[in-house]
């Protein structure tokens, strides 16, 4: 890998490296129900970040792990394919992947009505197909949509979006270059209808006020992603209805 000097992340006319304004998301594309085997699935793209999620369950839990008499057990795996990153990633789970699996599981625990399915397991598998910043937030969005697609009752969707700080400016939905050379990356998971935060991390240094402004930006962006997500769910529903009709 060639070592480049730190690039200019915000141009004089306040444009970012990919031409976006500070509070502008990358194009968000969402498809639901993309896999045959899984009970629910979703493919989510934030720009060049592409994440696939599948849900199996509620299903009889394997003997390998315990179930609970009062609720469904969630098993969540966040995993990066080996070709998703600039340098090939070893397929073995890294410490980062183990941490993010936990953080995303806890975010999903907050939205799943798990008490409806005692003694079962709900498995959520996330594969990052291409990583260009924001894989955990796109992954959270994909996971909650796959849960919805699987028909599992949810309190709300969980929408992930990262706020960053680059060249002193707070920006929305940072890409890899901004993450690498910027000052902060703050991934936030939001349940837009509940107005609640289900995931919150900070990697970098911000003032207390910057955190609060960043949260405002995240809440606003979550609303807009939420709309796209609902459309994707609706599109699949429409398609299903049409299929039924045409039979």
């Amino acid at each position: 890998m060639t070592i480049s000097s730190k690039p200019v992340l915000i141009s004089e006319d306040k444009k970012r490296v990919d031409g976006r304004k500070p509070d502008e998301m990358r194009p968000v594309r969402i498809a639901v129900g993309v896999l045959k085997n899984a009970n629910g699935s979703a493919l989510v793209e934030y720009g060049d970040t592409k994440v696939l999620a599948a849900v199996y369950g509620p299903r009889e839990a394997l003997p390998k792990y315990m179930t609970s008499p009062t609720r469904a057990t969630l098993r969540v795996r966040y995993h990066m394919t080996s070709f998703s990153t600039s340098e090939r990633k070893s397929p073995a789970p890294s410490r980062r992947e183990i941490e993010l699996s936990k953080v995303i599981r806890e975010a999903l625990e907050a939205i799943v009505f798990s008490s409806l399915f005692p003694r079962t397991g709900i498995d959520v598998f996330i594969e990052v197909l291409q990583a260009d910043g924001g894989t955990r937030t796109a992954g959270l969005t994909a996971a909650s949509l796959a849960l919805a697609d699987a028909g599992i009752p949810l309190k709300d969707l969980a929408i992930g979006v990262a706020v960053g700080k680059v060249n002193g400016v707070l920006v929305l939905d940072i890409n890899e270059l901004e993450d690498e050379y910027g000052e902060a990356d703050m991934p936030v998971g939001i349940a837009p209808n509940l107005g609640e935060i289900v995931l919150f991390q900070l990697n970098g240094v911000l003032t207390r006020e910057e955190v609060k402004i960043g949260l405002d930006m995240a809440f606003k962006a979550a609303e807009s992603i939420y709309k796209t997500a609902k459309e994707a769910l609706y599109n699949k529903y429409i398609k299903l209805v049409e299929e039924v009709k045409s039979q």
């Binding site: 890998m1 045959k36 793209e45 394919t81 080996s82 070709f83 594969e127 197909l129 291409q130």
Partner: protein
Amino acid sequence: MSITPEREVIPTMQLEQVVKSIKRGERIDGRGLLDYRPISVILSPIKKAEGSALVKLGKTQVIAGVKLELGAPFKDRPNEGVLQVHSEFVPLASPSFEPGPPDENAIEVSRVIDRSLREPRAIKLEELVVEPGRVAWVVYNDIYLIDHDGNITDASMIASMLALATTKMPRLIRTESGQYTLDSTTRETPLPVNLLVATVTIGVVENTLFVDPNLEEEQVADALIVLAVDERGNICGAQKKGEKSVSRKILDSALDIAVEKGLYLVNTMRSILNNPQSYIKPLIEM
């Protein structure tokens, strides 16, 4: 250690139906015995990889990605680049897959594909050495199965072959101190490919042979015969799978079928590669 797998529990009625269909020569999904399912392809869906392809063979979906690095050649092959094939059966692809390192089935698929590429010299590894015995290109061909509806091997082979054949190598930079690095932002010369190879997976139910088994057909098959065929019609790999034996006659017929269907698959790939732009499209159509 290899352990007799537990059987998937499928209602027997349904299983019998699958068997009957095959024996009748008309398969449950309406195909003839020697018909492949529709093949749909997206080339280069993963820009971060030097090459990639998503292949749908019926409802089976596979993504292959090719990553290039610099490394040391194998000790006994000082004048060649290194080819590494890995296959991951990630748990999102099937309710029967568990997270963890590749099991014997995933390892078998990757080793069959590895040999079928290596033996006919599908990749010109001899052109991928930088400094003999010291520095060579390492070609990682990583295969992710994302939806499993049978015949993983053939789908993985098509995805691998297309990903390799569309791989563009980044620029190699030699520093003043004699070290080498890659400029991973570039995509220059194509990876040198000698010829195309396909595998043909043939199911056996009693004395009936059929190609491209779907998941249910795999579950009723006595055995599967995987035969790799190169574009010259030679057999360049073979693997009998499954818990029953096959007769000499069956194997001879399978060889004949393999050559025919192998060339069909090679031609399908050739026509895609002749017109790659039509296959570069977004993963999500809005």
